[in-house]
């Protein structure tokens, strides 16, 4: 049986661990609220730009953007993987990576090459270990997503699509269901799914200034970016929630371990005292 001192040091170390996990839990809880607010704040823009895109698809324009044209043959596929920068958030990244890995394997077996963009440090590390072709990445996004950091890496993918290097673009991220539940999901970004046409009786088209091509280009690029931005903010809300839950579980476990160790400690202490007493008694009896 371990000596009393050994157990005491062990209890101390578990207590220290618990202090850290408790602190992380509280930090995550505070950040979670803000991250969720930011996630909700992206909704108006996403809704509006979707509405504008729907209007645009019902307008009878001459110009058809390559983003909406479905390609017959798919040779290469683009994949954007959104993950967190830091770990200690339960199975959040693992689930997203598993989904990404399954997609990549699927494309591999069907003979499609895959280009990957990694948003977030964890995903980048994983994809590089995997040996995937990472064409662009953004790491160190912080607690607030900034469009500025995403424009470049995303444009690499969009340019590849426009140039015909890839023929489809997919996005993998963690979708926020509620604080306890996050789900890894994948969506197809390009070619754009046809938007449901709003009922407009007559034949009409926009006035485009300066011309249809540049305006539609700008709008669709923003539409894609808005979806990615939303995925990133959602992923951040997921990260904080998952971390809070994971740290809470860790704190609870530490508490249980401390309880058990204390029990063992008391038992050994009791045993030592009993032993000493019986020795004294036996000694006295011998005299």
């Amino acid at each position: 049986m371990a000596s009393g001192k050994e157990i005491r040091t062990k209890i101390k170390s578990v207590e220290n661990t618990r202090k850290i996990t408790r602190a992380m839990e509280m930090v995550a809880a505070a950040k979670m609220r803000k991250a969720q607010e930011r996630m909700r704040a992206t909704r108006p823009y996403a809704e509006k730009i979707a509405a504008v895109a729907a209007h645009m698809s019902s307008a009878s324009s001459e110009y058809k953007h390559p983003f909406v044209v479905k390609r017959e043959v798919i040779k290469r596929v683009g994949l954007i993987v959104v993950s967190t920068d830091k770990g200690l958030c339960g199975g959040l990244n693992t689930n997203a990576m598993r989904l990404a890995l399954n997609l990549i394997r699927q494309w591999d077996t069907s003979g499609h090459g895959v280009d990957v963009t990694a948003l977030g440090n964890k995903g980048l590390g994983f994809l590089q270990r995997l040996g995937a072709k990472v064409v662009s990445h953004a790491v160190g996004l912080g607690d607030t997503a900034h469009m500025e950091q995403l424009i470049g890496p995303v444009k690499v993918m969009l340019d590849a699509y426009s140039a015909g290097e890839i023929d489809a673009l997919h996005l993998v991220y963690s979708s926020f269901v509620n604080t306890m539940k996050q789900e890894a999901v994948s969506v197809q970004l390009l070619p754009l799914a046809p938007v449901e046409k709003t009922e407009l009786a007559h034949h009409w088209d926009y006035i485009y200034e300066p011309d249809a091509k540049s305006v539609v280009d700008a709008l669709l690029v923003r539409y894609i970016e808005a979806m990615i931005y939303r995925a990133v903010t959602e992923n951040m809300a997921c990260e904080q929630s998952a971390r809070m839950v994971a740290m809470k579980a860790a704190s609870d476990n530490a508490k249980n371990v401390i309880g058990e160790l204390k029990l063992v400690y008391n038992k050994t202490r009791q045993a030592a005292i009993t032993k000493e007493l019986s020795e004294i008694v036996a000694g006295a009896a011998a005299v």
Partner: protein
């Protein structure tokens, strides 16, 4: 009462304005545009500048700064999609180039990282062996 038009101004981070207006003046790419109710459908890009909104209940115009974006006009509705970053064809291109360069750098560095990981694994193994040997020595 004069005619009004519904105006929505949104950015990625927040809804900046939502309400009715008598007219709206926007900094469009081809110059400033004043839009009154029942304007025909229009789609254009915006330059960085302020959107001026004349609300029916106040004499003054409300100013909202946008750093560029998109404008959609339907006869009874105006939508301004404000950018949250300064955009421009060259600037975006530069960002993409930068991202590409970083990715290539990361690809090149990967081999050294792999070696680092390998070395780390070997080191861990060596330490474990030393620990085992010293334990054996102690027990003898």
């Amino acid at each position: 009462m004069s005619m009004t038009i519904h105006v929505d101004i949104v950015s990625h981070e927040a809804a900046l304005f939502s309400g009715v207006a008598e007219y709206v003046i926007v900094p469009a790419q081809m110059g400033e545009l004043g839009i009154y109710p029942r304007h025909t459908q229009l789609l254009t890009r915006l330059k960085p500048g302020s959107v001026r909104i004349k609300k029916p209940d106040s004499a003054e115009e409300e100013l909202i700064y946008v750093s560029g974006g998109m404008l959609e006009v339907q006869p009874h509705m105006i939508t301004v999609l404000s950018d949250s970053a300064i955009r421009g064809a060259e600037l975006d291109q530069a960002r993409a180039e930068e991202a590409k360069r970083r990715a290539e750098e990361a690809m090149r560095n990967r081999s050294s990282e792999m070696e680092y990981a390998k070395a780390q694994a070997e080191l861990a193994q060596a330490i474990a062996q030393i620990a085992a040997i010293s334990k054996l020595k102690k027990s003898h």
